[in-house]
Amino acid sequence: MRHSLLKVAALSSAATLTLAACGGSDSDTDATSGGGEGGEGTDVKACLAYDVGGRGDQSFNDSAAKGLDRAKDELKIEAEEVEASQGENDAAREDRLNQLVDAGCTNVIGVGFIYATAMGNAAKANPDVQFAIIDDASEASAGDNVAQLTFAEHEGSFLVGAAAAMKSKSNKVGFIGGMDVPLINKFEAGFEAGAKEVNPDIEVQTKYLAEDGSGFADPAKGQTAAEGMFDKGADVVYHAAGGSGAGVFKAAKAAKKMAIGVDSDQAKTAEADVQDVILTSMVKNVDVAVFDNIKATVDGEKQSGNIVFDLKAGGVDYATTGGKVDDIKDKLEEYKQKIIDGDITVPEK
């Protein structure tokens, strides 16, 4: 048995690697090409490589997809989309980006910081192609032909944090992050700062679901974590956990408490029966960034370096769908103006 256990260990690690490679090629063949009749006005072909979750996650990736759809409609470009798989490595991601280049893409957009290293390498190998990465401004992805599109998530999170504190009756609010990384820490820092701005004594409970990307795709974990917060007295929970957020909304519904969505206006995109528990959403207009990037290429411009979409540029905002923040909208607008004017500086960590 000892031998078999060793074998198990060796083979399961081998399996993980194989799986990763497998998943990569699988997604590539899955590629759905849309807008086939494009190419009348332009020869731009924009290709999106999604983060884990892909189109249909009702959140981050869907927001990027919206930008691509708009570009297809308005700019009459060709488009192609591929999805990432759980647990793949940088080499698999790089392969995917290179395959998009081989498929004739003139704009390759990596949706998510997981593409950082892969994009840096692919950009060096293909200097004629315009690359863009969302949510990353690191050295790893930097290059003359790479636009690093980042957002001031902490500023948007500040506003929903303020909204949560104004709506909380128990003076306890919660934050659930998908993965403990600097990007998600920004959401937490902004949320906490916003809540404390309104009520310095408020208690902010924090939980990160996982150490890897699985925390963005596990609604059961999101639900359990949110239940724990509601049981401990929190009455508004903000999630920055992608697909796991569906579980947070379910828990809020069951506990008759409130939740705050992320990235997309989730009072519109979440399942119909939980939309009424969503107080507001921290909207991250990834679609604007994606559309602008494609439009720049169509207009013959070249985007490069770090481009920040902040509150001022309309890159982030809070959502008003459902009318639950109508009564505090004036105060939120006030905070928004203060951040834009620089009267309030929101911490990033």
Partner: protein, 421 residues
């Protein structure tokens, strides 16, 4: 060769049988666990450590692992190593969601079991008929199942409203069951914060209210598995295939058939675990939602010494740790450090006083003091460790307990009819 195996077996089996706990040890153990948890709560002041919410979540998080482990039990008792549980669970997640979408929750449960059983059947075909190495076949199933589920999801969920290539629309969930009228009085007792009684009430509440029908089915399957494998001739034949297939053959048992049945049942149970994930733990299929639970189920079964009771404890431990870290984070786990210190202290004293093993006992007590010191000087377990804590704990317990394990004798070996003579 076969006679040798038989002799080894009989020598080996006797101490195992003598070591088996009597039936009354179960309630005593559970009461002791409740008392210790209650003590930890009173000392640390962390009320959520054994609240009904935590215990309910623990049960829900333990069930998929328990299903997988139960599947592993059937397969391995018949002599076939089943590392493919993970893949069979993946098939079950898709099957559960698809069945529930087209025919309601009960169809989902059947479909989940069916999809898992298909995976089991493939494993049986490869290992029993073709004599493929069990590990190789299992790993292959894990790889193929991920691809198959991904393809099926894209094919059947991709175009649906609210679905995508990697996610299904919301599906109907199995009904919740419970004993009516019992929740409120139990809640009242739980709220009082009494020593022992409050924890007991919380445990009863978690076990009697708001249970998914599939959880009840799962627990019933544990009882059924124990009965079938250890109390019926059919179960004896399956176990004999795992201990000594040639001996079973000489007594007229159709080894191939019994292995096929056991591995297929194994797949069906793992599939139910997958169905639990997509129908009960949440109400959507989502790619990669199994996330290694099949492997943990296998580990829980090994830790449980290839027996249902031990397996249930192993998955329960994992579920409890997972619930605790998800709901309470590092602070809740911090309270558990005290529990670990107390357990190690008790273990050390027991080693010295009852067994005369001074060195082991001293080491355990020293570690207990070290853990207690860490508990005193820190406020929380670092966030980097908390998501990993359930795996770590299960692994440690596995390593700690593995000295006394006895797997089925012929596990992992290729059996060929007539070659034993």
């Amino acid at each position: 060769m076969s006679t040798e195996a038989m002799i080894d077996h009989s020598v080996d089996a006797t101490p195992t049988a003598a070591r088996r706990l009597p039936l009354w040890a179960w309630p005593v153990g559970i009461f002791a666990a409740i008392a210790v948890l209650s003590l930890v709560r009173l000392i640390t002041g962390r009320n959520d450590i054994a609240s009904s919410g935590t215990l309910s979540a623990a049960l829900a998080l333990a069930m998929p692992i328990a299903f997988a482990g139960l599947g592993g039990l059937w397969s391995e008792r018949s002599g076939v190593i089943n590392i493919g549980l993970e893949g069979m669970m993946v098939l079950g997640t898709w099957g559960g969601a698809y069945g529930a979408l087209i025919g309601g929750p009960w169809a989902g449960i059947l479909m989940a079991a069916f999809c898992g059983a298909v995976g089991g059947l493939i494993h049986a075909l490869a290992t029993v008929t073709f004599g493929v190495d069990h590990i190789v076949s299992g790993v292959a199933i894990n790889i193929v199942a991920v691809g198959a589920a991904s393809f099926l999801a894209a094919r059947f969920f991709g175009d649906l409203d609210g679905g995508s290539d990697v996610q299904s629309p919301p599906v109907a969930q199995p009904p919740k069951v419970g004993i009516p009228g019992i929740a409120d009085p139990l809640s009242t007792i739980e709220q009082k914060g009494w020593f022992f009684l409050s924890e007991l009430a919380a445990l009863l509440k978690a076990l009697t209210t708001g249970l998914s029908a599939l959880t009840v089915i799962g627990l019933a399957l544990f009882v059924l598995t124990f009965y079938v494998l250890w109390r019926t001739p059919f179960g004896l034949r399956i176990r004999s295939c795992g201990e000594s297939p040639t001996a079973a053959e000489s007594l007229g048992v159709n080894v191939y058939l019994h292995k096929y049945l056991a591995v297929t049942i194994s797949g069906a149970l793992a599939g139910l675990g997958g169905g639990f994930l997509s129908m009960v733990a949440t109400n959507i299929y989502r790619e990669s939602q199994v996330d290694g639970r099949g492997y943990i189920g296998l580990a829980a079964m090994i830790f449980g010494n290839w027996r249902p009771g031990g397996l249930l404890m192993g998955s329960g431990l994992f579920g409890f740790m997972d619930a605790l870290q998800l709901r309470g984070g590092g602070a809740a786990l911090h309270a558990l450090l005290l529990l670990i210190a107390l357990l190690l202290l008790a273990l050390g004293l027991w080693q010295i006083i009852r067994r005369g093993r001074t060195i082991q006992g001293a080491v355990a007590i020293a570690v207990a003091i070290a853990v207690a010191l860490i508990w005193v000087v820190t406020d929380s377990v670092p966030g980097d460790i908390t998501p990993f804590a359930p795996h770590l704990t299960t692994l440690l317990v596995l390593a700690f307990a593995s000295q006394r394990l006895r797997p089925p004798k012929s596990i992992g070996q290729v059996y060929r009819k007539g070659e034993g003579h």
